[in-house]
Amino acid sequence: MNNQSNIKWWSAIGKISERELRSFAKRPIFLVCMILAPLFFLVLFTSMMNSGLPTKLPAALVDEDNTMVTRSMVRILGSMQETEIVARYDNFTQARQAMQRGEIYAIFRIPKGTTEAALTSRQPCIAFYTNDSYYVAASLLMKDMRKMSEMAGIAITRETLRARGVSEGAIMPILQPIVVESHPLGNPYLNYSVVLSNLIVPGILMLVILLTTSYALGNEWKRGRQGKLLRMAGGNTWVAVVGKLLPQTMLYTLLFWFIQAVFYMYLGFPCACGMPRMMLWGFLAVLASQGLGLFFYELFVGEMRMALSACSLWGVLSFSLAGFSFPVSAMVLPLQWMANLFPLHHYFQLYEAQALNGYPAMYEWPSIVALVGFVLLPVLLTGRLHDGFLNKEYVP
């Protein structure tokens, strides 16, 4: 008896899935949003950040002194990784105007008399100005210009020491006794693309999943077919929902794995835990997003538009609260709690701990539990959904 009803469930799920697949074929919007858009964004982001770290950012020079010494400083600055001196101005006002026109991100300024003051021990002051409303560019340029300014002073001391007869080998330990050596863990090239693409492309996919889950379910109500769907499922809400969402689960999981394959196999992004583990988290992330999408739909059964609005309002926030560019630990406490309510945050935590740093999975158990929690979340409102199937109409 039990066995027989099992077979019925499976065949019902199969039939509903088949019906769902046929409805995908009829609507180009599914094709566009579910497959083309994520793939397009995969290409967009990986090619946009192809260089890894932005290099040769445009900066301007105001060299009012213009001596042999300052020219050599400028040459060194121009040879640095992030900086490209694209313009020289006679005075600061011109340079500032160029900055306001958006031509440059930083200004390096050597005032008149710098060389003379340096040679006569009168401590001149050079200055650099970064445009911090373009924060990433400004931070990178700041690093170079700071190093250059520091080196300028060191060069003067070096000459003093040489004049005193200190040997070449002994000079560097005097100038720079303590050297700071940085070891960026997991991403030694400081490749932005590695972390940013790994956040944004899956993030967009998860947002799409969230939206299409609500959309696909809402369409049943919109076309007034929810009753038929429930009958096909033999009156069981969960058979109806699983059958309905199964094709999406399979499609999105394959897409997620494809994205991961592009990252870790084609582009060679670090994946210390191995592909199978990340594929598992990818699968879990797909299910979690579907769970959350379904939960939002259950909250507004029949009101597809409200459910979709909630999904989109929630979904776009997840990029900020996943915490790559601006870390969650720097946010105010309520937001730190709130970050846990976004599947993307947990997927990102798993990614960075495991693929990037290669830590064992047990350290990230809270995120795994949270993702599983998102999968199970819609079970809480089963009654509401069932009631919705029977009694709720589409609300425009």
Binding site: I29, C33, A37, L44, F45, M48, M49, N50, L57, M99, R101, T114, S121, Q123, P124, I126, A127, F128, Y129, T130, D132, S133, Y134, Y135, V136, A138, L140, M145, A152, T157, T160, A170, P173, I174, Q176, P177, I178, V180, S182, H183, P184, L185, L190, Y192, V195, L207, R305, S309, S312, G315, V316, S325, P327, A330, V332, A353, N357, P360, Y363, P396
Partner: protein
């Protein structure tokens, strides 16, 4: 005169439609009002302070303790504790109790005394680029300061206070963070995000209203009313409604939000109007063009929402525009947000005059013109279709 009355009638019809539709109201009122506040709240702490790190001090001398004390005192870094070796430190990293490790070699003091360089290792978690930046900045500042002390006290031996100052730094330098006095994220991200919110919610609102009209009128964009006969009155009537509403919202964002959260606001009234008028018009007309593809009201949420993040990147504000490949720069030029965000950042945050942003403003006017013509074409065709089905007479 009649077309003027028609424009007003269309305007009034649209207004009544929108006000009654809570789905549209969410996107064109609630989101533009609430989301800037929410984003400002997310980034209001500006930057990471007191990043927790642990220290492996293999030397245990007065000088290493001085180093650790000074690192702890920087605004960037906080020393959470001492550990015996790298394995213990890694354990703390794995548990996310610290975000970085500072390792001091056992030979620290002896090497310095012997006039040899010592290497202090800084291991930083790359979970966020900001962690790396803050940790390196904090430790480097302290190391450079101590380097100057060692250099002056051990080798240069200045005679007077002034000589000491000069010997420490023969050339002084100064870093000025322009246009973002807190040097943080809020002043950097909020302005482009606000402009993007204006554009995206316009696309959503216009798309939804279009989808709704189509659903009501069996696929037709033109409701069966006589005032919808002329393209110009339809396009202007609809766009004026969104334009009036969004001018108010834009003013709210530029004035109220920036003031509440203490963001830089250097925009003059002429730059505000000079920028916002073409920006909003370009967004509205592009919204009309996009809405040609919206056949059901919910579709537009699916189509427009996930575009927001890529569009933010295409503006070149968050990821430096100079290092975006040309193809994507051209793609970005199709959207008003690319010019709008940059112009707003420059005029609002950096105090550029209308003349400084004239290229962007020109581009926005061109976009507005082109999309206006496209929108007119689209509506001409739709009106013909409606007349063909004799809905209009």
């Amino acid at each position: 005169m009649t077309w003027f009355v028609n424009i007003f009638k269309v305007w009034w019809d649209e207004l009544c439609d929108i006000v009654r539709d809570e789905g549209i109201m969410i996107f064109i009122m609630l989101v533009p009002l609430a989301y800037p506040l929410l984003y400002a709240f997310i980034y209001t702490t500006e930057t990471q302070r007191d990043l927790p790190v642990c220290v492996i001090d293999n030397c245990h001398s007065a000088r290493t303790r001085e180093l650790i004390r000074k690192v702890d005192a920087t605004p960037e870094v906080m020393v959470r504790g001492h550990v015996a070796n790298l394995a213990e430190a890694q354990e703390l990293l794995k548990r996310r109790e610290v975000s970085g490790i500072i390792e001091i070699p056992a030979t620290f003091d002896r090497d310095l005394a012997h006039g040899r360089q010592v290497v202090v290792g800084v291991y930083s978690d790359l979970t966020s680029m900001l962690y790396y930046k803050q940790l390196l900045l904090g430790v480097t500042n302290v190391a450079q300061d101590m380097n100057r002390d060692i250099k002056v006290n051990n080798y240069l031996r200045p005679g007077t206070r002034r000589e000491e100052q000069v010997a420490r730094m023969p050339i002084d330098f100064e870093h000025v963070q322009l246009y973002n006095p807190q040097g943080g994220f809020a002043a950097f991200l909020i302005p482009p995000v606000m402009m993007l919110i204006l554009q995206q919610t316009l696309f959503l609102g216009i798309g939804m209203s279009m989808g709704r009209t189509r659903e009501r009128n069996r696929g037709l964009v033109i409701p069966p009313r006589s005032d919808y006969k002329h393209v110009v009155s339809v396009v202007w009537g609809k766009s004026l409604l969104y334009f009036c509403l969004y001018m108010i919202l834009a003013a709210y964002m530029c004035v109220v939000v920036t003031r509440w959260f203490g963001l830089p606001q250097l925009m003059h009234a002429d730059a505000f109007f000079g920028l916002m008028v073409p920006y909003l018009l370009a967004c509205i007309f592009l919204g009309f063009c996009f809405s040609a593809f919206v056949f059901r009201r919910e579709d537009c949420i699916l189509l427009f929402v996930f575009m927001s993040v890529p569009l933010l990147f295409l503006t070149g504000v968050s990821w430096p525009g100079a290092s975006i490949p040309k193809v994507w720069q051209w793609l970005g030029m199709l959207f008003p947000s690319t010019f709008g965000c940059n112009a707003y950042v420059r005029a609002g945050t950096m105090g550029a005059s209308l003349g400084d942003i004239r290229h962007e403003v020109m581009a926005l006017w061109i976009q507005a013109g082109v999309y206006f013509l496209l929108a007119c074409l689209m509506y001409t065709w739709e009106i013909r279709r409606a007349v063909g089905r004799s809905v209009l007479n």
